[in-house]
């Protein structure tokens, strides 16, 4: 029996909501321990996931970021048991995926990128009923929940339309709805906003926040779209080369970067001074206006900022504006993973 005490408690209190909440705070929604997966052998072997440890608490939205080939999809598939890891373990609400697999799967579902995830020849509602059933829920007992889900995802009008007759964006929403239809507490979503227009993407993001913060569902969101991750997620896990290179809240990741980059604007910064600053402090010029105002940026500022200010004071430069840069998650990502912005992928920028 590959269950620990908390698991037994978790399973036994499914009908006791108060007790359940208490247990949920103690048992992680997802726990990956020393997870590793390698594809191939010998010199051609690729380490897709390299000794990853990760714990995700119930009711949170965690963004999974990484460049192509970082190991995100392999990690998700290992967590789901779709890929069998070489070593390590996966627990969903305390149930080992490789051991008491059936028990673990009552709590987890996933929407994977590049797959339909549902049946296009069935209607939207038929899909919801079907996937609720195979997920262990009598569909007649969740009709109201399905109606509400359709309403929130703006699919009510299309409820009785075969999925094949819907637009790509609508199909994406149906795919998500079918994942949520079974009531899984832990949901993996791989590029859920791909193909959605701006309005639909925003609706979906609101719904994801609501699902986590009101319904208490745990969502692991993998996306190349940094804006979505930044807006929706409580916490961000960044991967590169199969390893986790950062794991913190969005605010913390951004604030760390904020303290480090400063922009200074002045009409007194001429070409000669710019060359001096570049030579001595590796500043970059990020803006020049027609009025002759130049903006320089100092990254990894630290003590160098004071040195730059000393130079500017000695040159009798009047500073028009000085500000810390509000970085985007993408910059944090580039810094941490060493990936160029073109590699952070723009595929999620459809909106």
């Amino acid at each position: 029996m590959q269950q620990d005490t908390a698991i037994a408690q978790h399973g036994s209190v499914a009908t006791d909501s108060n007790h359940n909440e208490a247990i949920e705070t103690a048992v992680p929604a997802l726990k990956l321990t020393n997870l590793s997966k390698r594809f191939g052998t010998g010199d051609d072997a690729i380490v897709a996931v390299d000794d990853v440890n990760l714990t995700i608490e119930p009711g949170s939205i965690v963004g999974l970021l990484g460049p192509n080939g970082a190991g995100k999809t392999t990690l998700i598939k290992c967590a789901l048991g779709i890929i069998i890891p070489d070593s390590g373990s996966v627990s969903v609400f305390g149930n080992r995926v490789d051991g008491t697999r059936r028990s673990a799967y009552r709590d987890v579902d996933a929407m994977l990128e590049g797959a339909r995830n549902d049946y296009w020849r069935l209607t939207v509602r038929e899909n919801l009923r079907y996937f609720a059933t195979i997920h262990g829920i009598d569909p007649n007992s969740v009709t109201q929940q399905h109606d509400r889900l359709l309403d929130r995802l703006e699919l009510t009008d299309k409820a009785d339309t075969p999925v094949r007759d819907l637009s790509r964006g609508m199909k994406q929403k149906v795919s998500l709805a079918s994942v949520l239809a079974g009531g899984a507490s832990l949901v993996f979503l791989d590029e859920p906003t791909l193909g959605l227009d701006v309005e639909s993407s925003r609706t979906l993001q609101q719904e994801l926040r609501r699902l986590a913060h009101e319904d208490g569902r745990t969502i692991v969101l993998s996306s190349h779209n940094m804006d979505v991750i930044e807006r929706v997620c409580d916490r961000v896990v960044m991967m590169a080369n199969g390893r986790i290179v950062a794991d913190d809240s969005v605010n913390e990741l951004l604030s760390d970067a904020t303290r480090d980059t400063v922009q200074i604007t002045s009409a007194d910064i001429d070409e000669r001074l710019v060359e001096t600053l570049i030579d001595r402090f590796s500043v970059t010029v990020v803006g020049e206006t027609a009025a002759g105002r130049t903006t320089i940026e100092i990254t990894h500022a630290g003590e160098r900022l004071y040195d730059v200010l000393d130079v500017l004071r000695n040159e009798a430069v009047t500073i028009d504006d000085i500000r810390t840069v509000q970085p985007q998650l993408e910059e944090v990502f580039v810094n941490l993973t060493g990936m160029g912005s073109e590699q952070t992928a723009t595929s999620g920028r459809a909106e």
Partner: protein, 274 residues
């Protein structure tokens, strides 16, 4: 899992009830029913193609063999009927698994409390029922076309033919499993259905060991039932026992191959990687 073995959701908004295997069976069979009635083109196309080939076989055979063919027409019709049943069941299962892999729904079934096994078996049952319906139409047209009369005791025909093609379901699962691992091989495995002609017409009286092959023993029994009028309860226990053993054996072996293939695909990370 609850004590009765049914799945229990972790969170419940307003008391969702757990689904049992009854609900699962209803959902899977209803889905197959909806697709069958909503998209009849596949079934109609299958019937037309089956009748076309029979027409070529019958009229072409008459030109070439004359009376010899007419004398053996009953056996040919029974064999052709069983062959259409076999092809329908085999291709339905193997193609269905390929489609599920491409759609990403196989992965979703695997990651459910029930798993894919009961769903696959229920789908197999649905495919057999569907194939019976279409093959019955083919049989009726063949009888009218050739002016032939056969003994059509429903219980005997359904049980014997049903068990005969159960072994083919096993082959379908095995082929589907191999396709999960080696995606490109799927189309080639469809060619196996032409090998069913050999199994349906296997000389089991001359070579008794051939009875353990899929279809062969069932085909011989179906010939006796439909041509000679032998009823189900008139077969020997040995014949019936062998029919059941072959059916269950190939189904079990086929599903085991499918299970092992999907497990290897999960280890290699190629499940659903189409």
């Amino acid at each position: 899992m609850s004590q009765d073995g049914t799945a229990v959701p972790h969170s419940a908004a307003t008391d969702p009830r757990p689904a049992t295997y009854y609900h699962l069976a209803k959902a899977v069979l209803y889905r197959e029913y909806l697709i069958f009635i909503r998209y009849p083109a596949n079934a109609i196309g299958g019937i037309v193609i089956a009748l076309f080939f029979f027409g070529v076989l019958f009229y072409g055979g008459q030109l070439l063999a004359g009376q010899a063919l007419t004398d053996s027409i009953e056996g040919i019709i029974v064999g052709y009927f069983l062959w259409t049943l076999s092809v329908g069941a085999y291709s339905a299962v193997s193609n269905d698994i390929s489609s599920e892999v491409q759609w990403g729904t196989l992965e979703r079934h695997i990651t459910t409390p029930f798993g894919f096994a009961p769903v696959a078996l229920l789908k197999g049952v649905a495919k057999v029922i569907r194939t019976f319906l279409t093959s019955a139409i083919v049989l009726a047209v063949m009888l009218v076309l050739t002016g032939t009369r056969l003994n059509l005791d429903p219980i005997t025909v359904v049980v014997v033919a049903g068990l005969a093609i159960t072994s083919v379901l096993g082959l379908g699962f095995a082929a589907g499993g191999v396709t999960v691992l080696y995606k490109q091989i799927g189309n080639w495995l469809n060619l196996l259905q032409f090998g069913f002609v050999v199994l349906v017409s296997a000389p089991v009286f001359a070579l008794p060991w051939m009875r353990v092959l899929p279809l062969a023993h069932g085909s011989a029994m179906l010939q006796r039932a439909m041509v000679d009028g032998v009823r189900l309860w008139e077969f020997s226990i040995t014949d019936l026992g062998l029919l059941v053993i072959v059916a269950v054996g190939y189904l079990a072996v086929g599903y085991t191959v499918f299970h092992l293939a999907t497990r290897r695909a999960r280890r290699l990370g190629v499940l659903g990687d189409y």
